[in-house]
Symmetry: C3
């Protein structure tokens, strides 16, 4: 395997690399739209990288490699959870993302006071190790209603709509068309034709102490304000407002309505065709057979 990439880096006035944009990548024959740099005079440094496949399995130890791996995810050359991202946080500098480009934290105070005195508005959008995806890559056939809520490193498939309340972290995303009004945590992938309702939550592995990778199958619905702490199979629904964790005790009913006993959430991981609800008469969380079918509204996913 051969990976070739051309990048454009931004630096602080002291020469520290703040971010690297890779408009051109040849990933073992699969190529980005842009094939060569336009012929502008630029003060930016151009970086050329050549990697073998084994580089994807190595931990990250510098900012250039960190940015390249995030680009590989967002160009969809590699799937979430398929490459080594160890060392990512330590390699990425915390950067001030502004309407005047990336600025070093060490230089922001002076820039800010200058902008106020000279009436040159400096708008700080974010102070973070990760930039928004769309500062670098515009995925095809996708809508992102609030670009500040999708990080570089997100993997977004055609037909995906990220509404204002949606969020997608790096190393996470959608494998097909999807309506995302909830939060896709780092490491989480959502299957084709699934819908994450407004404010719905998927548990991540970066904070909160959870060690199991969460995922959402195909044709699933996480209801508004619901939450998910297990890998969910296909054709499943989590009722609006219900937070399902690995430890939730759930009474399981078969298709005829007969109880099969009580299971922990983790025991129902990757099970298909289930509707999870909290009985509003007695507070009991139950799972029953899903007889409906989640259908995405096609109007909302023709994103051209």
């Amino acid at each position: 395997m051969q990976i070739k990439a051309t990048g454009i880096s931004s630096k602080s006035s002291k020469g520290k690399i703040l971010e690297v944009f890779f408009p051109i990548i040849d990933f073992d024959g699969n190529k980005t739209h842009i094939k060569e740099l336009p012929n502008y005079e630029t003060s930016k440094e151009i970086i050329n990288i050549s990697w073998g496949g084994e580089d994807l399995k190595k931990p990250i130890s510098d900012v250039i490699s960190a940015y390249l791996k995030l680009h590989l995810l967002s160009y969809k050359f590699v799937l979430p959870n398929s490459i080594n991202l160890e060392g990512l946080f330590d390699s990425l500098p915390n950067v001030v993302w502004t309407n005047q480009g990336a600025i070093s934290i060490d230089e922001i105070d002076e820039k800010l006071i200058e902008s106020k005195l000279l009436n040159q508005d400096l708008n700080i959008r974010s102070i973070d190790k990760f930039p928004p995806l769309t500062d670098f890559i515009i995925p095809e056939n996708v809508r992102i209603a609030d670009a500040s809520r999708v990080r570089l490193g997100a993997y977004l498939s055609p037909g995906t709509t990220i509404m204002h309340e949606g969020f997608v972290n790096f190393n996470a995303g959608t494998l097909g068309k999807a309506m995302i009004e909830g939060r896709i945590s780092s490491g989480v992938v959502v299957g084709n034709n699934s819908d994450l309702g407004g404010g719905s939550s998927t548990m991540g592995t970066l904070s909160g102490g959870n060690n199991i990778k969460i995922s959402v199958g195909e044709n699933c619905l996480l209801g508004a304000n619901s939450g998910l702490g297990i890998p969910l199979g296909n054709n499943c629904i989590v009722e609006a407002g219900l937070y399902l964790t690995a430890g939730t005790k759930i009474e399981l009913f078969d298709v005829n309505g007969n109880s099969k006993g009580i299971f922990k959430g983790s025991e129902l991981s990757d099970s298909h065709n289930l509707v999870f609800i909290r009985n509003s008469i007695n507070g009991k969380v139950i799972a029953k057979t899903n007889k409906s079918k989640v259908e995405l509204n096609s109007q909302l996913h023709t994103n051209d």
Copy 2:
């Protein structure tokens, strides 16, 4: 009925209309603040439209009509759910909304690489069929803490405050003063003097399979992280964290505390003076008589 409108359109370099701003509308004698275009030389195309009342009942089949109807809603010439919006999604192009104006998706890759090489920061705020309301219209006596979360087509009445966590879709909004820290889905209207707590959800009809128009009456409170799947009457409270759907089974108590039996949420649609809570001893969802009164903090709604 006679509607006259003057618009300014933005086009892609290939001449495709990306968006139309209507600063001047005469809606059967009711007029926008701006009465005539200032006398600047402009490269933009000026559009003049004359509609009869029957045009409001027709489906939408072009981008100009789509933008005009969204403006009619946001100028509050027409109420949500009162005009025909069929064809809206198909008529609106997916546009890249940037600090350099609206850009065609077909042209964004080149613009992005150019901006990086030449250090002209291009900030992509959104990739969506709908622009933020405030790119076009500033409603009077309203606060909107994060402008990216209110779409053109929102109907916002004086005294409305949309906090950072608030959201208002097109064809939806507030009929009087209101505190909005939750999400107003498309088709949903909120009555005077009501409060949508932080992260509260109202079910929409665009996705999720719901067919009943949700609304919130006057003097209501949706608690933080609560949710609403029925039309709510006046003087009602949904407890923080409770998601009330059309299918929720609810034990109803009268003013003396006597049970009136168990009802589905949909059977309590538009009922007044109810407090919905989940009993924390036994998990049962109940509705009892509301004896308190929701009072908005007047300091928060004097938005001048």
Copy 3:
């Protein structure tokens, strides 16, 4: 006590003060990084203020004092809830915050139409009495993934990470390192080493009728989509999806698993070492002894 401050004010074309930026403050000997104004020619008015300690106890009656008090909080010269903020809302004008600086509401319609005709994009980020914190102050060793969600007047300690779903109001914040993916309402403080999960809510006192100041102790976890309506002690966990209010009835269990009876949430205020969950078999909210330890991921808080 002696407070000296140098500010730069922005005014409307009619001379109304819209906002004041205080880059230089000497708070009884503690000083901001910036010690003197750079020597630029500026059209902005420079304001010099000298206060005694008693000024902190006075209500606010003008925009300059309002901005100075918000700066004192965000520079961490004073703690939340320690100075008199009465009169704040009445003193702050509602301002349009744009990529061209602060604009008066009275002048925005003309600016907007001009920008469209002349292709000078005017991006309205917010219409609010409060600007984003980072328009004025960049706290050290902090990440803020979406700058629009932290208001001036927020108090953020080193090691704090505010994720995209996090929010911090004025007169509120973190007393040590913290992961904030939930909402810190006005008046709320979060102790060292605590984690507010995605979409979690803390009840504020500005709206919603609550009169008790909410706080989160040290080493606490509010699970995703949970909520808090009582002051929480140290080493406590509120389970994902559970909204704990002052009125929630909670069965308390001791370390041996014996019931100690049923308490109202308010009776458990400031108690330590508790895990609050809703039993998923019977819907009962219970509190039991916390035997685990909340550990923040150190990678996420090395924000340099």
